[in-house]
Amino acid sequence: MSTSGAEAAEVPKYTKKDFESDQDVRWCPGCGDYAILSAIQKSMPDLGIPRENIVFISGIGCSSRFPYYMNTYGFHTIHGRAPAIATGLRVARPDLKVFVVTGDGDGLSIGGNHMLHILRRNVDVTILLFNNRIYGLTKGQYSPTSELGKVTKSTPVGSADRPVNPLSFALGCGATFVGRTIDRDMKHMDEMLKRAAHHKGTAFLEILQNCNVYNDLTWNVLYEKESKVAHELRLEHGKPLLFGPANDRRALVMDGLTPRVVAAAEVGSSGQWVHDETNVNAAKLLADLWTPEFPIPIGVLSAIQAPIYESIVLEQEQRAISERGPGDITKLLTSGDTWKISSEGG
């Protein structure tokens, strides 16, 4: 099934404007969410799906205010439950294109269990996780992605929890599409949003986002031009894993089962590690990499095909109907052990 129904309908020519709702946007001035909103609105026409067949589901958080600003169907639900609601919606309506917008707290703290299960079920939903490594809406407590030792309102002398890596977590849950992009890189966001939206099955896209009020510049290493060039590793299917400035190109290579960074010059094209989106093992290795020892991978880590939960559910229904006809309650009620009591009876 998937969203075929949607693709069937004939589609007007849309522009970004067509996806802007009439609601006041209520984020703080300077919030990274503005850029993401505009990137998503911009990417919508590319879907080739009638606007009325698109639904945005979110939980609670600054990020989760998102659906109000999209001129599509939308549901701003409760904290952490968007993946479950989206699952129910897809089972009821496999003809709709469903997006989930969530945050590092909404999706990985209170919503962690639903995230695990939507990923393993591979429900055909595009999940956009805005990761600002903080609880924004509740005014600045640390989140499950905050660095160990993070000083926040709720951790005046530093947090005691090791953070979860959203990509490693998603891969450990069996995700079929895992990617990462940045709020300050419009072009890359646009690419990634399209890739994620077109994936069949659950697409998990982490969007590094700036909360300029409670966790400003947490991703600065990827904001400042120079450090971005030095540390960002662009993943492209079929391309070798090279990064760094032209004058100091570096290569990521495997040394047995341990990744290493070497001067690009040192490795012949044979020794290069060529990115393969279909190799989940490689994706798991890449997901764990971060500065300073390693570059920061940006792009599609993994994209594979696997059975889709609601497709199987609907196939089972179709098969039952085609094999034995649609249900008939009267037939059912009178089936099996029954007995008559005639009016004289008793």
């Binding site: 709709l96 039952a320 249900g327």
Partner: protein
């Protein structure tokens, strides 16, 4: 029980108007199956019936232990039977533990049939018998004791069949069934048919069960020890086609009927939990009705998945038992404010916390009414009998869709597993479930209310031009836009409450069982319907000025209820909780209703209710 001799039977055939029988043995002894088959036979005989299965929380509790005892009780009669019965006319005890646990429920002079083979030292120890109870002369004095070596007789009957001892042993419950079937002159046909269907593939097993069943029957016929046996005439029941129906199956089938009549798919989101799991399992077998089951990761996902389905234009339904319903509270609150249809089945069980998973209780009424943050009103209804669950489920869907509101259905473990002969309805006579999704753009607002029901329009995503956003934050009436305006909030709180109040339009006049005015009114709800009715009819037979009413609608309450309550000098509210409905009635109508409350994980005994009536009337 009134007995009258009947001539010309090889052995004296006495006629009874009702009998209460309990089969008790190890979890492994197949007592549930035995009871179910005996029920079917009695149904064929045209009796009215009520059943009470009772099994341990453990899957296969170790053999011979007290906590491992499993039992199945039923009452069948030639008149209306309201309950499985309080005290037993006949107890079949397959081992010492069963005897130990259940003997106290057998009437003095009652029929006691034991499988002597199981009364060895090991089993006696496990049951905690210091001395062999069967040797105690008092037992034979107090009851009509029949010691039968069922195991030996079973093996004898099939010694030539190529089955191992364990397999042969397993058929002995059919010996008991055959014997008791003879004692109460039940037809064996239904069981024989069942055997052939069930064991079609394994001829020897079919043959074994058939022979053992007949052997048990013959044993009663011939053995000297049974001086008499009994007939229970067919009951006066409304004519028509009947089937045995359990509460959970009826809930499931009620949803199927609703799916067919509403022409909408139903999405049932559930996480397994006793005693609700069998609804999920039943629905999963009927995909042809476009009922889609989601076994969710937890109860929160189950209810929110159902909400997602309702948002998508399907009927979202979820089901669980008390602990799971507690987890759904926040989700139900979302449906309240999003004003989406949602049906929630709560199959109540003993609590608090994990409590008594396999036992029945009525203690979730307050949770259904108030178990959410803030002012979060929902509709609450409850079935009266296993068969009534069919109509309640259908009604729940109809109301949820018509008023765009969550409806909680309060069933319980007793209704869920208990069964009754059920007159199969003509589904076309059920009130229609008309769904109209809004499609006109002109003048559309997400919270523009229908003047009669106050329900907002239901829009299927996919409808061009009606794109809109809803959510859990307070919203402006009509437009549905986020609003923090104080007056609007107060207004919305009242709108949500008034919408639920309007459901009173759907409630038929309350039927009063007894005088329209008098000394005492007994008010009940849910699974206690049978016990209460039986007790009240007995009191009426005693000439007391007593009536009873049964509430299927608990929120809103029936519009005529306040008036009715004032027509009686006293009001008694029996419940399997510490007094919940009684508090609601006192608060709502300021009447001095008193509760009768026993929380034992069992249905209320009508005898006790009858005594409570006497007491209260004594003080009139």
């Amino acid at each position: 029980m009134s007995e009258t001799a009947v001539r010309g039977a090889p052995k004296a055939l006495k006629e009874l108007d009702r009998a209460v029988i309990r089969f008790a043995g190890d979890s492994g002894d197949g007592m549930q199956l035995t009871g179910e088959q005996f029920t079917t036979e009695s149904a064929w005989a045209g009796n009215d019936i009520a059943t009470l299965p009772n099994f341990p929380a453990e899957i296969r509790a170790p053999a011979g232990t007290l906590f491992g005892v499993s039992s199945f009780q039923l009452q069948f009669g030639s008149q209306r039977v309201y309950t499985p019965g309080d005290r037993l006319d006949c107890l079949v005890a397959m081992n010492p533990a069963a005897l130990k646990v259940h003997l106290s429920d057998l009437k003095p002079g009652g029929l006691l049939i034991v499988n002597t083979a199981a009364f060895d030292k090991r089993n006696l120890d496990k049951a905690g018998y210091a001395s062999p109870p069967l040797d105690d002369p008092a037992l034979a004095e107090r009851y009509r004791l029949h010691k039968v070596d069922m195991t030996a007789l079973t093996h004898e009957a099939i010694k030539d069949l190529p089955l191992n001892t364990k397999e042969k042993d397993r058929t002995k419950n059919f010996f008991a069934l055959g014997l008791v079937s003879w004692i109460y002159t039940r037809p064996l046909e239904p069981t024989l048919e069942w055997i052939n269907k069930k064991f079609a593939k394994s001829g020897d097993v079919a043959e074994a069960n058939t022979r053992v069943l007949k052997a048990g029957h013959a044993f009663g016929e011939t053995a000297e020890i049974f001086a008499e046996h009994y007939a229970v005439e067919a009951a006066e029941m409304p004519p028509g086609l009947y089937r045995a129906m359990t509460g959970n199956r009826a809930l499931a089938w009620g949803l199927l009927a609703a799916a067919e009549r509403s022409k909408l798919p139903i999405v049932y989101g559930a996480y397994p939990i006793t005693p609700a799991s069998s609804i999920l399992e039943e629905l999963a077998m009927h995909k042809r009705f476009r009922v889609r089951t989601i076994q969710a990761e937890d109860e929160i996902a189950a209810v929110t998945a159902a909400i997602g389905a309702s948002f998508g234009g399907a009927i979202g339904v979820t089901g669980s038992s008390g602990p799971g319903i507690a987890l759904k509270a926040e989700g139900i609150g979302l449906a309240v404010t999003a004003e989406l249809p949602l049906v929630i089945f709560d199959i109540q069980r003993g609590g608090p916390s994990t409590g008594l998973p396999t036992k029945t209780e009525q203690a979730d009424l307050m949770q259904a009414l108030y178990g959410r943050n803030s002012e979060s009103p929902v509709v609450v209804i409850a079935p009266a009998t296993p068969g009534d669950c069919f109509y309640i489920a259908y009604e729940a869907v109809r109301i949820a869709a018509k008023y765009m509101v969550p409806v909680i259905v309060l069933s319980d473990g007793f209704l869920a597993n208990g069964s009754e002969p059920w007159l199969i309805p003509d589904v076309s006579t059920l009130p229609p479930i008309d769904i109209h999704f809004r499609t006109e753009k002109e003048g559309f607002f997400p919270y523009l209310r229908d003047p009669a029901t106050l329900s907002r329009p239901w829009v299927r995503p996919g409808t061009p031009g009606l794109e809109h956003r809803i959510g859990g934050i307070e919203k402006q009436d009509v437009t549905g836009n986020i609003s923090y305006d104080p007056e609007n909030h107060d207004h919305m709180v009242r709108q949500r409450a008034e919408k639920v109040r309007r459901v009173a339009q759907e409630i038929p006049p309350t039927t009063i069982n007894g005088p329209a005015t008098g000394d005492l009114l007994v008010v009940g709800w849910g699974g206690t319907y049978g016990s209460i009715t039986a007790a009240v009819e007995r009191a009426q037979a005693d000439g007391k000025s007593v009536a009873s009413i049964h509430l299927r609608h608990l929120n809103p309450l029936p519009p005529d209820l306040g008036h009715i309550l004032r027509e009686y000098r006293k009001i008694l509210v029996p419940e399997i909780n510490s007094g919940q409905l009684v508090r609601v009635l006192r608060a709502e109508y300021l009447v001095d209703a008193v509760g009768f409350n026993r929380v034992r994980g069992l249905p209320l005994a009508s005898e006790e209710i009858h005594d409570a009536i006497d007491q209260l009337l004594g003080s009139v």
